[in-house]
């Protein structure tokens, strides 16, 4: 009898371990939809003369994040939770560690690493859309690595790691990465845009703006819906699967996957409705869904679902005015990434501070609070903006950031891509330049 109980206990434990692997494996697979979506979104938002160059750039972001996150990204996450001095905990993330490869005594490292790789690649894809049609591919890849395998993951080590100083000292709460990914990536993009400059033809000599129309809005819409699908994998992977016990969020607080189901769907729909009600424009409706999720993301585990819905509406409402503001400032964000991710992310982080203070944290970490969220937000803003601005400034100074004006005029596909997107199309090289309203 004792032997049978021991055998059943061992079997049950192994089943739980394998379930853990399966859960994160499929979350990772679903997250790849984010990249399929961004690929379609960016190509659709490009003019026909740049469509393949935009696609190639996006694909390369994913491709280069994977090895660089193996080389040093995972180590950064594990080594820096206490600040800027690397700790011994980083040893398990070194690229030659026993945990960083097939290992029968470690079922978790590979699937966790993979999920984080997809988080990292998501940050790079967010940034990617903002800079289409005038950034050099090589410069973009360097900046994507800087964002995905360095800046974001350092912020995550501080604000998402269970020993991160933002949690331990301030009780920072950001379960769905409103700040960690969306503020960091959005403001990284803003820092780059300041150095990169607008696309040729975006602004007139008197400062007024033109709309450089997307060549395929249906592709944009399908891409954005794919991103939404991917975010269900993303948000699922933000939970910790504890075999034989209740789920916890990334901070170790008890949570349920059901809470994410309620609130993700409610804020998603709120975002669409908010954007539709204020713009009637399908180009903004699906980003509205994303913004709705991001405004609710930080507290996705605790919101009363109708509150998540209202937060989603706020996200859907603010993105178009946010992007219009940037245009008035002379900033050409081709897909509205700064507004959709950066501005919504700010609201998401602070929504917890205003509407969800007082939730206890494990151990000695303080409860969630307005000040904790504010400090975390400032850290995320700096991580994103400073790294993006300085990285792009260095490339600009070296003269390798921006595609020359003449190449922009004829189209990046003709200059860089050895095949044609629409070889039988008539007039595919013509510019779609019309005055903005």
């Amino acid at each position: 009898m004792q032997g049978q109980i021991a055998e059943l206990t061992k079997s049950s434990g192994m089943l739980g371990t394998v379930d853990l692997e399966i859960f994160y494996w499929w979350c990772t697979a679903i997250m790849i939809c984010i990249h399929a979506g961004f690929l379609a979104y960016e190509m659709g938002a490009s003019r026909a003369k740049n469509v393949l160059a935009s696609g190639v750039k996006n694909i390369l972001a994913f491709a280069f994040i994977v090895p660089t996150f193996f080389f040093f990204g995972w180590w950064i996450y594990l080594a820096f939770p206490s600040g800027i001095i690397p700790g011994e905990s980083g040893a398990a993330g070194l690229p030659w560690a026993a945990e960083m490869g097939p290992n029968l005594s470690d079922n978790a490292s590979g699937v966790f690493w993979a999920a984080f790789v997809l988080f990292a690649a998501t940050t790079a894809s967010i940034f990617s859309g903002a800079v289409i049609e005038r950034i050099r591919v090589s410069a973009f890849v360097v900046l994507a690595i800087l964002l995905g395998s360095v800046a974001w993951i350092l912020a995550a080590s501080w604000g998402w790691h269970p020993d991160g100083w933002l949690l331990k000292d301030w009780g920072y709460h950001d379960v769905g990465c409103a700040g960690l990914i969306h503020v960091v990536a959005g403001f990284f993009a803003l820092g780059v845009l300041l150095n990169l400059g607008p696309r040729i033809g975006k602004f007139n000599a008197d400062g007024t703006a033109n709309d450089l129309l997307p060549h395929n809005v249906p592709m944009v819409l399908i891409g954005l819906m794919l991103i939404i699908v991917g975010f269900f994998g993303f948000l699922g992977a933000c939970l910790i699967f504890n075999p034989g016990a209740q789920w916890t969020n990334i901070y170790g607080q008890p949570a349920t996957l059901s809470s994410y189901a309620f609130n993700t769907l409610m804020c998603f729909s709120g975002g669409i409705i908010g954007a539709w009600a204020t713009t009637r424009d399908p180009f903004w409706m699906m980003p509205g869904a994303l913004a709705g999720i991001f405004v609710a993301a930080a507290g996705l585990d605790v919101w009363y679902p109708p509150l998540a819905f209202l937060l989603g509406i706020v996200g859907g409402v603010i993105i178009k005015p946010g992007n219009d503001f940037l245009v008035r400032m002379g900033i050409d964000d081709s897909v509205g990434a700064v507004s959709v991710h950066g501005f919504s992310g700010i609201l998401g982080v602070m929504a917890v501070g205003v509407l969800a203070s007082g939730y206890p944290n494990p151990g000695d970490a303080p409860a969630t609070s307005f000040m904790g969220q504010l400090v975390g937000l400032i850290v995320m803003l700096l991580c994103g903006f400073v790294s993006g601005y300085l990285g792009s400034l260095a490339l600009k100074t070296a003269g390798v950031l921006r595609v020359p004006d003449k190449v922009q005029e004829i189209g990046l596909d003709l200059a860089e891509i050895p095949c044609k997107a629409y070889p039988e199309a008539v007039g595919s090289k013509s510019a779609t330049l019309v005055p903005a309203e």
């Binding site: 280069f64 090895p67 660089t68 080389f71 690229p95 030659w96 026993a98 945990e99 490869g101 097939p102 290992n103 029968l104 005594s105 470690d106 050099r136 591919v137 090589s138 410069a139 890849v141 360097v142 390798v400 595609v403 020359p404 003449k406 190449v407 004829i410 200059a415 860089e416």
Partner: protein, 58 residues
């Protein structure tokens, strides 16, 4: 090439190729790093030359 670090699955932990030969791991890792960043540098050089050709067509 014999690359297995184990001779039995009993008690095996890290079993990836060359897991018991750190020096070989470092060489392979260095090669992977060089290829990764080398292709970016090559792409940058290619872009500079391609753009110069187009700009020189005036």
């Amino acid at each position: 090439m014999h690359t297995s670090p184990i001779t039995t699955w009993d008690g095996a932990a890290a079993y990836f190729t060359f897991a018991d030969k750190p020096a070989v791991l470092y060489v392979i890792l260095a090669a992977a790093v060089i290829v990764t960043f080398g292709t970016i540098i090559m792409a940058g050089i290619h872009e500079i030359e391609a753009f110069k050709k187009i700009e020189g067509k005036d």
